[in-house]
Structures are given as C-alpha cells and as structure tokens.
C-alpha cells in the first residue's frame, strides 16, 4: 500500500519515546523486526503476535465525551467484539491495551501514569480521540497536550469524538503493529529498587 511521504521537520526530533528512551518503563517489545532472527524465533514471534493480536483485553481509561463513542463502539451496531477486543478489564493487571478515552487534564496525569506503570507487559496504548492524541482544542492551563507527553502511545485515533469505525480502524492498525512486532519469550527484568 502506498504510504504518505512523511516529512520530518528539521532539527532534532527524538525517536518515538516508546523505543529505547531513557524512560525505564518502555515496553519490552521492539518495533523493528529487521534484526536478524533465527527461523524458530521468527515462528515463535509470529505465533505470539497472532495470539496477542486477536485477544486484546482493554482497560478503558474513560474520562470525557469520547466515552459516548466508546459506548457505541462497544454496543451492538459497531461491535468491537468482532475483533476480539470486547472484554473491558477495569484492572490494569489483566489488561493488554490501555485505551485513553477522552481529555487528560493535568490533575489526571499521576493517575494515568500510575495505571500505565501498573499494567503488565506486553502492553499497548491507544490514544482514543484528539484530546488524548494532541490535547484537542483545549489548549490551556488545565489540559495536557496529548497523552504521549506522559506515557508512550502506540496508536493515535483522531476524531472528536472519533466515529466507531475510526476506532475499529485504529484497533486494526494496532493489530498489524502487534503482529509485526518482535515478541520474545521468557524475558525477566527486575528494576533495581525491587527487593
């Protein structure tokens, strides 16, 4: 498929904070599969990707008007269950996908940061709607200009609020991303301050 020519403005644009940034809680999965992989690892990564892509458990971090469209995306007509992501889990322990649905204001950032940190790997983040993606038209003292200033985000769904089809399209893009990512097995990393 032809991709839009992506133009990077000059000057230093940091790599997407999600990959290799100094932020320690960057997810374990790297985004480029072009590193040299043996046959077995590629097969394992493919099956794991396929398994994880089709059974996404979402944590709906619902705050504002996008919640109304989230309800429509979950309800009967635009059913998200067709893509395997139907079951909302209201605890980060059992969720794979953190859906930031609605505006994130400054008072909400510690909560968002904590919920993201408490999610178990492998985890992805979908910024549902313009306010979560870039702050929308709330550009004042109270709102954060996009959730990616606080946590790394994988998929941005534009729209204010996005139509449920856009949400499903965002989910499809996320599934493609999961499928093409490299999934390693049995990696254990323990932070220094944990006993």
């Amino acid at each position: 498929m032809s991709r839009l020519p992506v133009l990077y403005p000059e000057g230093h644009v940091p790599e997407s904070p999600r990959v290799g940034g100094e932020d320690k809680s960057v997810p374990v999965l790297l985004s480029r599969l072009d590193e040299s992989l043996g046959w077995f690892e590629k097969a394992l990564s493919g099956t794991l990707g396929w398994a994880r892509k089709n059974s996404i458990f979402q944590y709906p971090f619902v705050t504002a008007c996008c919640g109304m469209e989230y309800m429509s995306a979950m309800a009967g007509r635009y059913d998200i269950a067709r893509f395997g992501a139907e079951f909302p889990r209201f605890t980060p322990r059992q969720a794979d996908l953190l859906m930031i649905v609605g505006t994130i204001n400054v008072k909400q950032t510690p909560v968002l940061r904590r919920v993201y940190d408490q999610m178990c790997e492998p985890k992805w983040v979908m910024a549902f709607g313009v306010c979560a993606s870039s702050g929308g038209f709330y550009d004042n003292y109270a709102t954060v200009q996009g959730a990616d200033r606080v946590i790394p985000v994988d998929v941005y769904v534009p729209g204010c609020p996005p139509r449920p089809e856009q949400v499903l399209d965002g989910l499809k893009i996320l599934q493609e991303k999961i499928q093409s990512q490299r999934h390693r097995a049995a990696t254990v990393e323990k932070a220094k301050d944990v006993g």
């Binding site: 133009l7 940091p14 400054v106 940061r113 870039s134 004042n140 954060v144």
Partner: protein, 218 residues
C-alpha cells in the same frame, strides 16, 4: 417582576442599589450586610428564595481593555496580560449570588464588589448547603477567601497548583505539570515563524521554512 423584590431589599438595607439589564434584576449590596440580605431573601415568606443557583465571580481587570475579536486570527497564544503598564481597576472583582424562588417563580442576583487587596467575604455555607462547593469553586478560581467556610480547599485544581487560573492576569497556557512531561516540539505546527510558534494556525507554519517541498507537504 422582581422589581418588587429589589424594593423590599432596599426598604431594609438602604445601601443596596438595584439595577436591571435585559430583564435580569441585580441588587448590589455592601460586603457587611451581605449575609443579612441573603438570609432575609431566603427566610422571608414573600421572597422565599430557597434555591441558590450559582455563585459567579468576575475579574474586571481588562473590562475596559481593547481585547478586539479577531476570529480566526485569534491565535490561541493570547499575549500574557502584562499588569505592569495596564491601569489598575478598583474594585476589581465582583461576586454575584444567583437566587431563585421555586414557589414564587422569581429570581434575583445579589452582587458584591471586592477590591483586589482584601478578597474576603463572609461565607453563606450556613444558609445554603450548596454554597459550600460554589464558594470553594470561586476560591479556587479567583482567590476570594470565604470566612467561616467549613472546609475551604481548592475544588477543581490540584493542591500543588499555585495561583488562581481564572484571574485575567493568569496566562492561558501557564501549565504547572504534576508529572514531568516529555517536551518534544509540536510536530504538527512545527517550529515555523510567527508570534507563537506552536500557537500559529496550521496554514502559516510552512511559510518561509527553508526546505519545504510544496508538493509533498499536505
């Protein structure tokens, strides 16, 4: 129809001045007898103003100013209001208590003017339970201290927030982040010229940029 109300208030409180604009009656009272006026309006059988709809506050600092419209030019980056060379306005704030009587179907606004150096008002949380949160809202947004309020804390902003955002001299975008934010440049608006950089509307970002290839930039 609430003109009779204003006359009743003026009978008991000489210092009250009534005014009406587009059918809304407003009575301006002194800070001293504010609680008495509101208690009178609430408990008097003729007025019977049992519903306190809202406590609104306005900062009159730039009321006479020349903030022109400028619809699409109104770049979001409003110039931060420099108090230095602007004339001080006294009394700078006013708080208006919006009362309504369900049985008599009439409404009235009690307005109190406040100077900017002593932002104190007696609290009416004892008269109306709903005043509790409205007074916390006005304290949070304008910094008006309500004496006698059971628990005067910020209602909307977080405790670590310094300043009162709805004051006219608080810049629109002065953020005080709680969690350290990753500050990468605004990829959409780009570092283009113009007053605000990130604030300039999209169409002007690639004006004058060096290596902009017009046919690839959407």
């Amino acid at each position: 129809m609430a003109q009779a109300l204003i006359d009743r208030v003026r009978e008991k409180f000489a210092a009250a001045k009534g005014s009406s604009h587009r059918g809304d009656e407003v009575v301006t009272v002194e800070r001293g007898d504010l609680v008495a006026v509101i208690a009178f309006l609430r408990n008097d059988s003729a007025c019977d103003m049992k519903l306190l709809r809202q406590i609104a506050a306005v900062d009159l600092l730039t009321f006479a100013g020349e903030t022109t419209g400028g619809g699409s030019l109104a770049s979001i980056e409003a110039p931060a209001y420099a108090t230095a060379h602007k004339p001080q306005v006294e009394p700078r704030y006013y708080v208006s208590y919006n009362l309504y009587s369900i049985t008599k179907k009439q409404s009235l606004r009690v307005r109190v003017d406040l100077r900017s150096d002593d932002l104190k008002l007696p609290s009416i949380a004892s008269l109306y339970k709903t005043a509790d949160w409205w007074e916390r809202y006005v304290y949070d947004m304008f910094g008006v201290v309500f004496e006698g309020h059971p628990d005067l804390r910020r209602l909307l902003m977080y405790p670590e927030f310094v300043g009162h955002p709805l004051r006219k001299d608080y810049p629109v975008r002065k953020r005080q982040p709680l969690v350290p934010e990753l500050d990468f440049p605004d990829l959409v608006r780009g570092p283009g010229p113009g007053p605000g950089g990130a604030g300039v509307p999209m169409s002007q970002t690639h004006v004058g940029r060096k290596n902009v290839d017009p046919n690839t930039y959407d």
